[in-house]
């Protein structure tokens, strides 16, 4: 039985697709209440949505939040890396929690299924990359269940349409960040990340393959661990599923996962963007005091 509690007030900076999708997810959350939705463009479709939902808006971006600093416990920053660099020092002073949706990676890397507890104390958490969210938990299981993980490689395929100009011009950064995340959560000696954009219509869903080079892999332990981890991830990313493996093929451990988006505001094929948003909501709910036990049959 869950005990009813006060929803905690949150704000979102950034009224584009990411911010608007977060807004809609928060409407469903029993733990979070979006009290302010801010950006620069009153004409954006996100702003219209917020108005329709009765959520207060402002086009003065972070300034609007600074005006009532005690009104929020958590702020989601869904603007840009450059803007977050400006926002963070201002928000830091207010002592509230910041969830960084941008690629600025100032704060602690947060993969809820793996390090939610450690992130509770951080004031700024960042959501890594889409490939990182999909693969780091898998890499973590490999690291935990196998001895001698020499190398882990992560390949993600995403729909071309879900990769905007900012993603395309920052591929190297995406690769670097994903490789760091996989390395940090698995302890592998070396890592590699690859990203493929596929323009096929209808738009493809996000798919991620994790390869590992393990001396004498323990496939039984791996299978149990992976299946449990996939269930954990499904608690906050319902569209996440295991499609292949773990198997050994051509001397490689192979695990393939697919991520279907929820389709709140972001289209369903944009599972790459949705997984980051789902992870952000999960972390925010944890900040709000939700105790997620990843065991069967406990808290929703």
């Amino acid at each position: 039985m869950t005990i009813a509690q006060e929803k905690i007030p949150v704000a979102i900076i950034g009224t584009g697709n990411i911010g608007t999708d977060l807004l809609l997810k928060i409407q469903r959350s029993p733990y979070l209440d979006c009290k302010l939705f801010v950006g620069r463009n009153l004409n954006s479709q996100g702003m219209s949505r917020a108005v329709a939902l009765g959520v207060p808006i402002s086009d003065r971006s972070v300034e609007a939040i600074l005006e009532t600093p005690d009104a929020f416990k958590i702020v989601f920053d869904a603007t840009s890396a450059r803007d977050h660099l400006r926002h963070w020092p201002l928000l830091k002073k207010l002592g509230l929690k910041v969830i960084d949706m941008t690629p600025s990676h100032i704060g602690k890397m947060c993969i809820p299924a793996v390090n939610m507890a450690e992130c509770l104390n951080a004031q700024n958490v960042n959501m890594v990359t889409c490939g990182g969210q999909a693969s780091a938990p898998i890499a973590y299981v490999i690291g935990k269940t196998q001895k001698d993980v020499e190398y882990i490689e992560v390949v993600s395929s995403i729909a071309s349409r879900s990769a905007g100009p900012a993603t395309r011009i920052n591929l190297d950064e995406y690769i670097g960040t994903t490789e760091s995340a996989v390395q940090e959560f698995s302890g592998a000696k070396s890592t590699k990340a690859i990203l493929n954009l596929n323009p096929a219509m209808p738009c493809i869903n996000m798919q991620t393959t994790v390869f590992a080079k393990v001396v004498n892999p323990d496939m039984d332990a791996l299978k149990v661990g992976i299946e449990a981890m996939v269930e954990r991830i499904k608690r906050y990313v319902p569209g996440y599923s295991l499609i292949v493996g773990p198997i050994i093929e051509n001397g490689r451990v192979v695990i393939m996962v697919k991520t279907l988006g929820l389709g709140d505001y972001l289209p369903k094929y944009a599972g790459n963007l949705d997984i980051i948003n789902c992870a952000a909501i999960a972390m925010a709910e944890a900040f709000a005091g939700r105790k997620i036990s990843f065991e069967e049959g406990s808290d929703a």
């Binding site: 620069r40 463009n41 009153l42 004409n43 954006s44 086009d59 400006r86 100009p165 011009i169």
Partner: protein
């Protein structure tokens, strides 16, 4: 002499003895949208010069989504009391300061990489942005003029054999071709300005910029002159894929700023004016000049790849209208323009 001091010299050269033609600007307020780009930066230099040397008393507001970066690029301007930096994006502004007397609407990047990779944003900035600026401007009863920056591209391409493009030499463009998106967006912007001029009486003058050279131009912008300068500054060689017969012209930044301000003050309402140098030069000659003036005197390689010589084009403005209506001339020749640009980049 700091590199910024040389810009003051440039302004003096471009104005010559004609500072009095700016009398109408005296003690007024000018707003520039896209104010921290090439155009905004040079107009700011020109206004600073006119205020310092000729006590013109103009106040300049630079509206830009990158306003905070201006202090790094031009600290001597950003710190002035007669220049205000205003953070804002024309895609979503709803108001401009109501005490504005003149507007130069320069928002919109001429970088074709952005036009091709982010055509949606390009159109929003140019079309939606112009709509927003016009709407805000129409509420300022005492606005003296608004200069809308279009592009020399709106007339369509120049044929190899034909004369330089006058403001009336229109040819059609295929609006299903992505490559035409920027030019078509600028045409739409001109049309929007025309609509506002007619319905609200806004005092609109249109400028059609061609090609420019000078300090404040980022060398990674994809134009031949930038490639040549970049390669020369790195020691060369300067590489031309063809035989360099393509023809362009280049107007220096301070001349451009001078022309912009004169058109703002004296341009005929409802008219469009080409801004650029009528003096054509082939890319081969241009590369030669850059190589001569650059310290490294780099080698020039022509025809680096077979087939390059098949593509040649000519793009020159006919500026008779600006010359006749406003007495405008090019004062800084290409030699000086290149020398001064190289000096700027090498910090000498």
């Amino acid at each position: 002499m700091s590199r910024y001091d040389s810009l003051v010299e440039d302004c003096a050269l471009s104005i010559g003895a004609e500072a009095s033609t700016f009398a109408a600007l005296g003690n007024t307020r000018i707003l520039i949208t896209g104010g921290t780009g090439f155009v905004g930066s040079w107009v700011a230099e020109m206004i600073a010069f006119l205020n310092d040397r000729h006590k013109l008393g103009v106040h300049l507001t630079l509206l830009s989504p990158h306003a905070s970066e201006f202090s790094e690029r031009a600290p001597h301007l950003a710190g002035r009391s007669d220049i205000t930096l205003m953070e804002g994006d024309v895609r979503n502004i709803s108001a401009v300061p109501t005490d504005t007397d003149w507007i130069i609407h320069a928002a919109g990047s001429p970088d074709s990489r952005i036009h091709l990779s982010n055509p949606i944003r390009t159109m929003e900035t140019i079309v939606l942005g112009t709509q927003n600026v016009m709407q805000a401007a129409a509420r300022i009863g005492a606005l003296k003029r608004i200069l809308v920056l279009s592009s020399g591209l709106v007339c369509g391409p120049q044929q190899w054999e034909s004369a330089p493009l006058s403001e009336e030499s229109y040819s059609g463009m295929d609006c299903n071709r992505l490559a035409n998106l920027y030019a078509e967006s600028k045409r739409a912007a001109e049309m929007i300005a025309t609509g506002y001029r007619s319905q609200t009486g806004l005092p609109v003058v249109t400028a059609r910029p061609f090609t420019f050279i000078g300090p404040y131009q980022l060398l990674d912008r994809p134009w031949a002159i930038n490639n040549f300068l970049g390669e020369a500054l790195r020691g060369g060689p300067i590489r031309l894929q063809g035989n360099g017969s393509t023809v362009r012209s280049y107007m220096y930044g301070s001349d451009m700023a001078y022309w912009m301000l004169r058109l703002l003050v004296d341009g005929r309402i409802g008219a469009a004016y080409n801004i650029g140098s009528p003096q054509g030069i082939s890319l081969k000659e241009l590369a030669g000049m850059v190589a001569d003036f650059a310290e490294s005197h780099p080698r020039i390689e022509l025809n680096t790849l077979p087939g390059g010589e098949l593509h040649r084009s000519r793009w020159l403005p006919d500026v008779t209208k600006a010359e006749k209506d406003c007495g405008l001339k090019v004062r800084i020749g290409l030699d000086a323009a290149i020398r001064r640009t190289i000096a700027w980049h090498t910090g000498k």
